[in-house]
Symmetry: C2
Subunit: 266 residues, 2 copies
């Protein structure tokens, strides 16, 4: 491993959920946002909302950024040149997700470089309607993710990651053996347990239905946590499709005449 | 603006399309990929394919990374703990896009910190089947974007971005005036023209149909380029939906019995 200031900052980054009261200066805020802006791609489909805390901001952080996929802005510019938006919403969002996320990660690392920390809130899209109301968003703006930023009030270790041979594949995607999979699971589970992560975060996900709890914080770790999230949550795309529609993005395809009288969902 | 090594690197980044022949060392490659891995989120839905060039790599770059949304790996681990993937594919991809893109941007900036440059290829998802074949991808792995990396064989300026008041919105999303929109368009157009960007890149997008060309490289700039892309390309989501299906991701909903005999597209 080669080390330098940027690599060190990336390897040390972790999600921060306890913040000092101190409000970052306007210059610090502008620096973070400018650094984000310079990420790829040129279409600049990402825009940024800001609220100052600690009131009404998760974790009582001083800054709450909401990273949006913003087609409204691009369409306004295109309209001035008499171009309509023709690209359909799925490919548009495919690029928008990337523009917004690339920008967001630059903001995360810019904040780190200025002595701050941050935490993403991944659930934002599922309550996009609240964000629309809070910021009076026009149609064609989709709040992808929220990002709290501020000065750290705690010191945390970076979190475990998969072994490199479970992550980087040269020339051919491997056929994982049982041993490969067990080893990746072990590294993650032992890594999180060694940090006592889930106990400190009080982050055990409840079992749904009548299933009896058989874990406690001595053995509840990453694989069980992932299983409970991805094995229980969001079984239907409907909430997300509805929230996207509230933002003016239509992934179910336009309603055609032949569908209008159908009782079949589109 | 506050400046430091990380902020400077972010502000100086631009897409690099000419590379030295020199192959980065394995240690450099590992450093870039490790720095990417430490990006949020903990589910690690992104994985990385690598091919070494310059043969069969765009721009003759020494390194071609393909950034994937990888549910195969997570599902293999969940299966070991008897958890099935329940999350439907749209929310799964929503998180996967972010994991993969956040990781990719760390790789971009890690490469910059090691004296290299990079360029994303946004069209990868539209030829996912070729990537499946090249790397023998299992189902549930979606190639999101390719990223060439190597040592620069040219010196380029960073590209223009929107004015800050067209990008960062505190407390409320503004109603843009005509003047706001014209000003953002002017900044982008004059910025790209001043760099002679599109002429050097030979990047003029053709007008479709019978429309007569009225621009040349003296006046063809960012707004016209954006208009021609987003005003002409990808009018249907079908190619993307089909490629996603080839990767084992189903955004049109599962095929139900009542659909099986229908001649209507799903």
């Amino acid at each position: 491993m080669i080390r330098n200031e940027i690599i060190d900052a990336m390897l040390a980054r972790k999600s921060l959920r306890r913040y000092e009261d101190r409000m970052p200066s306007d210059e610090v805020i502008e620096t973070v946002v400018r650094a984000g802006q310079q990420a790829p791609f040129a279409a600049q489909l990402g825009s940024v909302l800001l609220s100052r805390g600690p009131k009404n901001v998760p974790f009582g952080a001083p800054l709450l950024f909401t990273i949006c996929i913003d087609a409204h802005r691009l369409e306004a510019i295109m309209a001035k040149r008499s171009w309509p938006m023709v690209t359909s919403d799925l490919p548009l969002l495919l690029f928008g997700f990337q523009d917004a996320a690339l920008m967001a990660e630059n903001m995360v690392m810019a904040a780190e470089s200025l002595g701050m920390g941050s935490c993403f809130l991944g659930g934002t899209p599922f309550r996009a309607d609240e964000v629309i109301e809070r910021y009076e968003l026009p149609r064609r703006v989709f709040p992808l993710v929220e990002l709290t930023i501020g000065y750290p009030a705690e010191t945390l270790p970076p979190r475990p990651r998969f072994p490199m041979d479970f992550h980087l594949f040269e020339d051919k995607y491997p056929d994982f053996s049982d041993a490969d999979i067990e080893e990746a699971a072990r590294v993650m589970d032992e890594g999180y347990l060694a940090q006592d992560y889930y106990r400190k975060a009080k982050a055990m996900v409840k079992l749904e239905g009548d299933r009896a709890e058989t874990f406690n914080y001595d053995d509840y770790s990453w694989t069980e946590h992932m299983g409970r999230k991805w094995g229980q949550w969001f079984p239907s795309p409907d909430v997300l499709l509805e929230q996207l529609e509230k933002c003016g993005f239509e992934l179910r395809g336009p309603v055609r005449d032949s569908d209008a009288d159908s009782d079949r969902p589109g």
